[in-house]
């Protein structure tokens, strides 16, 4: 199908709307079916989203605190549970397990139910899973702040919290698997591949790591290899898979057009599964590890160019001719921003993994920039996009203020953009001065102070974005959204005119 000659007439919907009466009936049946599915997922998904947003706010405050401490080290330095060594891991783990994972699970449940065309049975049990998950995160963060951190990056939760998380996870995922088991229709959509993958990869990555670090600990130096394999693959195989799956749903859904190519999707999925799981050791360049281990990870990172280029092209060709919709649709805008960030994040990841570059940057702020590109610019933005799409369907109201959505989008965009730029530039200069033996280490850290202040400014922008979004979400929960037949467009007049044309 050539997209150039069909500016804004999606092929899938138009025939349905204008053809015979029987088609209309099918459409109505589909609508009722969707309404039922949404009703069944309403409570658990809203509970996951609500908890995620509470953790997001807490994580944001912890992040701001961490960031300020880097250039104002005396700030509350006497309070032991607010020292940098505890606040930073608390921030990371709240974001990873509290915000990103819970938002991801919420979206995944809704998508799974929609795509399996099955209602969620016994949704209250899933709420139990979410409550357990919250308990796990609460225990974990409390443990970290109380000084019980394990000291492994992204795994600082003490083992008693990790066990609760694992139980909660099993509850949640068995529900998703049940939905897949009772799916209707013989077609399994791309999003379902990624979600199933994510649901099976998470216990593998998390469980194997817990065993190798805590139950049957490996010998000293190899624990570091396990830790980095875990951190990278949590990012790729868990968040990456959910994020890509969501983008594969939201983009074609909002513009009402099929995904460009099945073949690209299949290649992108399988090469991703194959290569991403080999990555992680590239963070250990120059460490006391057999050279081939590190090199194999770098080579695998280079090979991730294949899935990244494939998925990027697939999304781009799907969007082609419809980029104008980015002016109106909040969902599309966040999702496309996230999808583009995924490409950038992955290519920067390839660059940072090469031995010659990694030797310079791997102990600097540049690796923090890389994590934020993955977890924020890519994953979090896609989650925001999916929430803007899903929440109105769950609460039966439209988002109240287009202006708040705009404010949220631009503060998030500028915030994360500024943060990544500051940390990348600061990291490169820090790496260069750390490699110059004539510059004392203390000077190399002082030289990045301006960048760290810039990062704090970006953190303020993100704080604004998150509180605005939380406020808006709260209005929706209270049933204070708009009742209207059209969605909340970012530019209402133009958007509604466009909707009428479609």
């Amino acid at each position: 199908m050539n997209s150039a000659d069909i500016p804004l007439t999606p092929p899938t919907t138009v025939p349905v709307a204008t053809s015979t009466e029987s088609d209309v009936t099918i459409r109505e049946v589909e609508q009722v079916e969707r309404a039922l599915i949404d009703a069944s997922t309403r409570l658990p998904v809203l509970f996951f989203y609500g908890s995620a947003i509470v953790w997001l706010l807490l994580g944001t405050l912890l992040a701001g605190f961490t960031s300020f401490k880097l250039h104002a080290p005396d700030l509350l330095a006497n309070v032991s549970f607010l020292t940098w060594g505890r606040v930073r891991p608390a921030h990371m783990n709240v974001m990873v397990y509290g915000w990103a994972s819970m938002a991801g699970i919420g979206t995944a449940i809704w998508l799974m139910a929609r795509l399996c065309r099955t209602t969620l049975r016994h949704p209250l049990l899933l709420i139990g899973g979410a409550a357990f998950w919250n308990l796990g995160v609460l225990l974990g963060v409390g443990g970290i702040l109380a000084g019980d951190s394990t000291g492994y990056e992204w795994l600082e939760f003490p083992p008693y919290a990790a066990i609760v998380l694992f139980v909660a996870y099993s509850l949640v995922v068995s529900w998703a698997m049940l939905m897949f088991r009772f799916r209707r229709g013989d077609h399994i959509y791309i999003t379902q591949w990624y979600l199933l993958g994510a649901f099976l990869w998470f216990p593998w990555v998390y469980g194997a790591t817990q065993v190798m670090l805590f139950l049957v600990p490996l010998q000293g130096v190899m624990q570091e290899a396990v830790t980095w394999w875990f951190a990278n693959n949590l990012l790729f195989l868990w968040f990456g898979a959910i994020g890509l799956g969501t983008a594969y749903y939201m983009i074609p859904k909002v513009i009402g057009r099929p995904v460009y190519s099945y073949h690209l999707a299949a290649i992108g999925f399988w090469t991703y599964a194959l290569f991403a799981s080999w990555t992680g050791m590239q963070r250990l360049v120059d460490g006391p590890f057999p050279a081939w281990m590190i090199t194999a990870s770098i080579a695998a990172t280079i090979l991730t160019i294949i899935p990244v280029a494939t998925v990027g092209l697939n999304h781009h060709m799907t969007m082609r001719g419809y980029f104008g919709l980015l002016r109106y649709s909040p969902t599309l805008r966040f999702t496309v921003f996230g999808a583009i960030s995924y490409t950038v994040f992955s290519l920067v990841g390839v660059l940072l993994s090469l031995r010659s570059v990694a030797g310079y940057v791997h102990f600097t702020e540049a690796s923090i920039a890389y994590s934020h590109m993955g977890l924020y610019a890519f994953f979090t933005m896609i989650m925001f996009g999916s929430m803007y799409y899903i929440v109105p369907r769950l609460v039966g109201r439209e988002w109240r203020y287009a202006s708040l959505i705009k404010l949220h989008f631009w503060s998030s965009t500028y915030g994360v953009g500024l943060m990544v730029l500051m940390l990348l530039a600061g990291g490169l200069s820090q790496g260069a001065s750390m490699h110059d033996p004539s510059i004392a280490f203390s000077e190399s850290t002082e030289s990045i102070l301006p960048y760290l202040r810039g990062r704090s400014v970006s953190g303020l922008l993100l704080t604004v974005a998150h509180f605005v979004f939380a406020f808006h979400f709260g209005l929706m929960l209270l049933g204070l959204g708009r009742t209207a037949s059209v969605p909340t467009f970012l530019n209402p007049q133009e958007g509604e005119a466009l909707e009428a044309r479609l």
């Binding site: 199908m1 999606p10 919907t13 349905v16 609508q31 009722v32 079916e33 969707r34 309404a35 039922l36 949404d38 009703a39 069944s40 309403r42 409570l43 795509l115 209707r184 959509y189 999003t191 749903y249 074609p252 859904k253 513009i255 099929p258 995904v259 460009y260 190519s261 099945y262 073949h263 690209l264 999707a265 006391p288 057999p290 050279a291 081939w292 590190i294 090199t295 194999a296 770098i298 080579a299 695998a300 280079i302 160019i305 294949i306 280029a309 494939t310 090469l354 031995r355 109105p392 369907r393 769950l394 609460v395 039966g396 109201r397 439209e398 009742t483 209207a484 037949s485 059209v486 969605p487």
Partner: protein
């Protein structure tokens, strides 16, 4: 789909009321206007994309080959340098085998950076007016006897090196801190570094000197050193290179100084 249609009404009423009507057919506007669930097109792969695949595989493979370290389990060197160049060390794993492979000058460098570099600097230039230089110093390049005396017993009082005066140079005695082997290693290092052209020093020579000076109580002064001829070498003279990894020293073999007993 048919057998499921009665279920809906019951379920919708069950949920929390978010302003939905009880009539399930009047579904929420968002669902009504929603596009159908996404479908998948069947566009073929473009040649450009296949070319990108090829490039990625090529570079990934080339990188793996270049930096694999021969896939050796104990090779830290990505270029695959032989992990065990000599078999003289212990066969077991661990640091013992590795230190045995270092040449005396390499070991001396470590000792130097740990003990001497604070004053004499890693560059061997010392600090003008405070700590004499080692690079190009007549004391370092000359005979080994003076050098051994200075390091074992230390040095006190005014001193002139390379024409520069050092008013109150003080160097601590090292005889209690460093072993014979370490002193000989560090002397070998400073005599070959920074363009210096001295020969190596053996641990045996230092041991002999240590015995000889055992009853000398104080640090040496400049007149004490001047009393010793500049080219006086330690008993045993300049030892030939004993370690296989050691680069040959042309100075030592070309102009062997007469040993003074």
């Amino acid at each position: 789909m048919n057998e499921n249609s009665p279920a809906p009404e019951r379920r919708v009423r069950q949920g929390m009321d978010y302003g939905e009507t009880e009539d399930v057919h009047q579904v929420h506007a968002a669902i009504q206007r929603e596009k159908r669930e996404p479908a998948v097109g069947l566009e073929p792969l473009s040649l450009w994309l296949i070319a990108i695949y090829g490039l990625a595989i090529f570079f990934g493979g080339a990188y793996l080959g270049r930096y694999s370290g021969n896939f050796s389990g104990d090779g830290l060197d990505p270029f695959g340098g032989a992990p065990r160049p000599t078999k003289s060390g212990a066969t077991g794993p661990g640091g013992g085998a590795q230190t045995a492979e270092l040449s005396p000058a390499d070991r001396g460098k470590k000792i130097f950076s740990a003990n001497c570099a604070t004053c004499h600097q890693m560059s061997g230039t010392g600090v003008a007016g405070q700590y004499p230089p080692l690079a190009g110093s007549e004391y370092v390049n000359g005979g080994t006897r003076r050098l051994g005396m200075i390091v074992l017993k230390g040095l006190q009082g005014p001193l002139t090196v390379k024409g520069m005066a050092f008013g109150s140079a003080v160097m601590q005695p090292w005889e209690k801190t460093l072993t014979d082997a370490k002193i000989s290693d560090v002397l070998t290092f400073i005599r070959q570094e920074w363009g210096n052209k001295g020969g190596p020093v053996t641990p045996e020579a230092i041991a002999a000197l240590r015995k000889e000076l055992a009853n000398h109580p104080d640090s040496f002064t400049e007149p004490d050193l001047k009393a010793v001829p500049e080219d006086a070498n330690l008993p045993g003279g300049e030892a030939p290179a004993t370690k296989p990894g050691e680069p040959p020293n042309p100075q030592a073999s070309a102009a062997p100084a007469p040993p003074k007993a």
